[in-house]
Structures are given as C-alpha cells and as structure tokens.
Symmetry: C2
Subunit: 301 residues, 2 copies
Amino acid sequence: MSSNNQVYGGIEAGGTKFVCAVGTGPDDIRSSITFPTTYPEETLEKAVSFFRQATKGLTLVAIGIASFGPVDPNPLSPTYGYITSTPKPGWANTNFAGYIRESLGVPVGFDTDTNVAALGEHRWGAAVGLETFIYLTVGTGIGGGGLVNGKLIHGMLHPEMGHLAIPHDKEEDPFEGWCKFHKDCLEGLASGPAIESRWGVRGENLPADHPAWQLEAKYLAFGLVNYIYTLSPQRIIMGGGVMQQSHLFPLIRQRVQHLLNGYIQADDVLQRIDQYIVPPKLGTRAGVLGAIALAQDTVGD
Amino acid sequence: MSSNNQVYGGIEAGGTKFVCAVGTGPDDIRSSITFPTTYPEETLEKAVSFFRQATKGLTLVAIGIASFGPVDPNPLSPTYGYITSTPKPGWANTNFAGYIRESLGVPVGFDTDTNVAALGEHRWGAAVGLETFIYLTVGTGIGGGGLVNGKLIHGMLHPEMGHLAIPHDKEEDPFEGWCKFHKDCLEGLASGPAIESRWGVRGENLPADHPAWQLEAKYLAFGLVNYIYTLSPQRIIMGGGVMQQSHLFPLIRQRVQHLLNGYIQADDVLQRIDQYIVPPKLGTRAGVLGAIALAQDTVGD
C-alpha cells in the first residue's frame, strides 16, 4: 500500500457539512476536520487549506471525494467530477473534482456519497468480501449506492435509490409526501423531514413505541424488497441519521420477511436476516473512510 | 470462435414450452425445435434426443440453458443448476444442468431465462456494447435480468424483477392482483393473466384504445422507474407476449418521463427515450440465442 509518510485524503461532502480526513484507513487517520457546507468557493477553499496544513511533512498521494448529488461520475464525460443539477444554492454545475485536483495537484477520485460509503464498508466494514450489496442512508434524504459484480454501480448515471415508487395507503397515512419531484416516493414518505412533517416533531424525539416507527419500517421495507428483487444484494447496510434509531432494525427485518412472504428461497433472508440487514460497521465514518479507499483505488494502491 | 463443424446448443426452458437450437449465432442456426413443457423426465429426454440427432456429423462444444425459475445459478452451491422451489408440478428440485451435462457429456452453462435473454441481446441484439442494462419480459409472468458492470446480475440469488411493490390505487383499479405470493405486486397487476382476469378477455383481444393499456403502461412504468433509480441501466429492453402490443411502448415511455419528472438529468431519458426503452432486437429468439451465447461463454469461446 503506502510507506509511512504516504497518505490519502478523503472528502465527504454533504449538503450540510463537509468532513475531510488524511490517513490510510480506519486505524490510521492522521487528522480530520468538519465544517459547514456554505458556498462552493468558501467551502472548497476550506477543504484545500485543511489538506495543505494536514499533509505538511507527508506525501499526499491522492484524494477521494464522496459527494452529495446529483453528480457526474463518468470519467469520459466533459462534466466529470461536477455536482450537476442540485437545488442547493450556488452548487449547481460546480467543478468539484477539477477544483480539488488543480488546487492540490494530485489525482482525484469522485463518486456519489453513498457509492463511496459503500466502498468504505467494502474495504473495512460490513461488506468485506462481498461482490454485490447495497449501502442505504436514511437521513435528510434517502440515498443508496453499492457494488454489483465487485464494482460501484454506475450505468446511465448513478443510483438514486431514495426515489422509488412504493405503495402508499392514504387512509392509513394521509401525509402526502414532501419530495419536490415525486411527492410520495420513498424519500418523500420515509426520510427524516418526512417523519418530522408528518408527526410535527423530529424522529429522535418520538418514543420507540410510537406508531411512527411501524410506518417508517413499512416504507423502508418496501424499498428494501424492491432492491432485493432488482439486484439480489448479498447484504443491505443501512446508515444515516434516522437509522440511529436502532430499534428500527428489527422492525424492518420483520417487515421485509413479511413482504417477501417466502418467495426468495435464500437463507440470507429466511434464516439470517439479522446479518443481512445491518448497520454500517464504520458507523458515521463510512463516507470519509470510503473517500480514502476511493483515493487509493484511483492510483491503484 | 469455432471451426465450421463446431456448434453450440441452446435451451430456452419456459414454463409452457422448450425451445432448443444448435448453431453459433443468429445467422447460423443449424436446427431448432419447440415442444411443450410436460414433466422433467419426458421434457429433458426430448431435449437430449434433439441434440443427439441435430449434432450428428458436428461437434457439440457446450450447451447453455435459459431456465424458468427460481433456479440456483451459483456454481459453488451443491444445488447449482437446479430448478429449485417452482410451483410447477414435478419440476421442484430438478437437477436440470446436471442431467443435460451427464446425458450429453459436454460443459453446460445455466442461468435464469431473463438473464440469458439479456446475454443474447448483449451479444447480438439491442444491448451490444453496454455494460449495464435490463431485459424485462412481460407475459405469463414478469421477469427481469440484465448485466451490471458487464456481468450477469447474481448476488444473493438472482433478480426477481417482476415482484416489485408498486403503488396501486384501488379506487382506480379495484382488481386485487393475482400473485400467489404478493397479490398486487407488479406481476400481480400487470402480467398477461392479470390483464385477462381484470378485463375478462385476453390482452390481445383488447383494442389499442382500451383503458386497459393506459393502466398497463402505468404499472410497467412504476417498475421501470424503480429499476432506473436502483441500478441506472443504460437501456431497458422489454419483451414477452404482452409487449407484442407494440402500441404499449410509446405509452410506457411517456409515463416513465412523467414519473421521473425531470429528476434524472440524462439525455437517455430526457431526449432519447425511444432508444432507451426498446423491444428486443432478437425478438422472440433472445432466449434461445442467449443460451447459445452462454454456451460459448461457458467454454470461453
């Protein structure tokens, strides 16, 4: 991998905050920083300054970026490395990877936040050795990424797993959904802001036996079975703020089994579902550690 | 590839009929046969007899099987090559690939019908050169397969794309769905038998302006957008009996754009959707030709 003074940089760029770190893996983070996401110039300059400071006396080999989106992750495209059509003020059409590469003069890897978090879990976390799995984050939004056949999912663009069309029984749940594009898609019904709008309080302030959680588990389970039917993942890792409510895991597992109804004859879902639907092993560090893994992959280390 | 007397065998094993062929590709089919799927012993013996007859004076290099399912496509599993838990009488736990291999003494490739049809379209049809795409068949059931990152989708088991949980407005459509496992999943609402149960006539006897087709397009579009959000295919190929109603294609394309609502900023869906959602180029031969492609892949040809 790398000699002792060779390090990699990771940037986890979220819509509300940036996390940057320098190191070579989970047990070797030399320094890290967290700061709010404001405007591109200011935020990216802050990241660049951090890496300049933090790598004094070290060799920065490459940087990996886990970005909020939508992004252009296609290296053959003229807008590769851009954040594209985001509604976040100032950030649409930002040449994120290009700015970092030019400022720091090192190779830069670039992908969606969830694809990169998946990569982190694949290198050091709950998906070591798997070829095909999903990493889903449930928080301010719902996003998913993953590996299929050992590689990150790209295709036409990149996954947007939060926006699935799922059943919505309006008698049981008259909340109309808050997704700006699709109203009652999965994200519109089950993300953090959906919970807050529906019940009038933030999820973290709802007790574990509140009916909110049964409904939440139901919607998330609709999403999960659809991913299972579509690409047959070997594991589903669920992170993000909402999944900090760890009592959700058993509810979701139960709902998934109920919905599959024995159709998928695989021990992973029939017998070992508690090892099939799991939290990230890297916890909230999956994104920034994944970015370091991406940096390593970018230069073939 | 192969010298002139080297040929490959393909078996497309459907729930109602078997199609077997010998040749090297779409322009070189030496012989083929179609017969009804009855019981395993009888049906598999008929296939074996055909290959023995049809390859006299030729060298049969390998056989590929495109099987109805669920199947076990994992070469490391003790039940690799089996049809597993099918409700079709007599066929559960049938060692399909093993029987063919032992009877004919050649290497055998084995996968789901839709994965294999996808492979056929990738080799010679509408998906040449693509890394990530889906092949969906809408007929007696709904099934899907495809390639992601250049390889067939496997993972935990194999895709079961027909069984997605999708929105079902019971006021608009009180039909409760016919899927034995999930009632109103995509297959339960939009397969051929669903159309027939809902309207009391077979789809092929409903005129093109019948409201059945708007509803059908709506359900299929829910499925398609969910595949797009999950794995971002570069193309979606739709075959099967129901899709013989070619007036469905423009209805589906329109619905997909309507549902995506501009969220996926890719010209493939915004500008070129008529080249994005397409019929198979190999038509009804995708399965058996895919099986020949699989036979070739099995021996590295």
